[in-house]
């Protein structure tokens, strides 16, 4: 059985890895505030969930989008370079 080799994954830079982990932790913090407001629907939790909780969640998602879009763009550029190199090899 022959399968296509899995495409190589471009590793994330250290900064991007840390940023993605921070996004994950911010998501957990935002979720905690939102769940608190659901379990204890009193003014403080509800206001915190609707302001800080959603702010943390939005920040986390923005970081995720930034990192992943940059990563996708880099992957795309690498794939284009690889295909250009392969076609020039074939031509040669």
């Amino acid at each position: 059985m022959t399968g296509k080799p899995a495409p190589a994954v471009t590793p994330l830079s250290r900064r991007a890895t840390i940023a993605l982990r921070i996004a994950a932790v911010l998501t957990l913090a935002g979720l905690a505030l939102m769940v608190w407001s659901i379990l204890v629907p009193t003014p403080l939790p509800v206001m915190l969930a609707m302001t800080t909780g959603q702010g943390l969640g939005t920040t986390a998602f923005a970081i995720y989008l930034l990192i992943v879009l940059r990563h996708l763009r880099r992957d795309l550029r690498a794939a284009k370079q690889a295909s250009a190199a392969a076609s020039s090899e074939n031509a040669g």
Binding site: V9, P11, L12, L20, R21, A23, A24, V25, T27, L28, G30, L31, M34, V35, S37, I38, L39, P41, T42, P43, V46, M47, A49, M50, G53, Q54, G57, A60, F61, Y64, L65, V68, H71, L72
Partner: protein
């Protein structure tokens, strides 16, 4: 509490989404996988889609929660008002309305909300003002002090009463005071809740201590 949460599909959905999101994010933090396409999709669900669904359902559930008497009376200075509304033997205007199914557990909001196109927004802004006032002025105040100090910011509008009591029904018209004061009640120059008419909705908050 569990039965209360699962009796409300919105709350159950919000908690379900939050739980699923937390699991995915924890998986990423613990396993530290490479950023493959599969990982990106897992994180899209864990950091994006599921938290957005939690926030959306949580917002709706939160807005609904802010309408309840339990929410309003969770600040200690409002507890006597909430207790009076919940008292099945109380004869106050507020308690009698709370016993009506159309008001029920949301009787504070139903009577104190502004009606009209932007009524909900105006009411929520007013609620934020309550939070501000409570945090800065009433948080450490005794109930006795608060009872003497707290007052409604602007006169209770008759339009709120007229929202249900249309002033056009034959039973309402049959009351001589209603008929004689009809125009003044409609334009708000005489309050339904004034002394001599129906009186204040929370009489224990007026006058000397009981």
């Amino acid at each position: 509490m569990v039965s209360w949460i699962f009796s409300n599909p919105l709350l159950a959905a919000a908690l379900g989404c939050a739980g699923a999101s937390a699991l995915l994010v924890l998986w990423y933090l613990v396993r530290r996988p490479l950023l493959t396409n599969a990982t990106k999709l897992v994180l899209l669900a864990g950091i994006g889609v599921l938290p957005i669904m939690t926030a959306a359902t949580g917002n709706v559930a939160g807005f609904e929660a802010t309408k309840t008497r339990r929410f309003c009376s969770s600040c200690h200075v409002m507890t006597p008002y909430g207790n009076d509304s919940s008292d099945p033997t109380s004869k106050t205007l507020a308690a009698r309305h709370a016993r009506n199914a159309a008001f029920g557990d949301e009787n504070c909001y139903t009577c104190h909300a502004d009606y009209g196109m932007y009524g909900t927004i105006i009411t929520k802004l007013g609620g934020l003002r309550h939070v501000y006032e409570y945090t800065l002025h009433y948080r450490n105040m005794s109930l006795e002090e608060a009872r003497a100090t707290i007052h409604i910011r602007k006169p209770f509008p008759n339009s709120t009463c007229i929202h249900c009591h249309s002033t056009t029904g034959p039973l309402w018209d049959a009351v001589p005071e209603h008929a004689s004061l009809l125009d003044r009640l409609r334009d708000g120059s005489v309050s339904c809740a004034s002394a001599g008419c129906h009186g204040p909705a929370h009489p224990f908050s007026k006058g000397p201590p009981p």
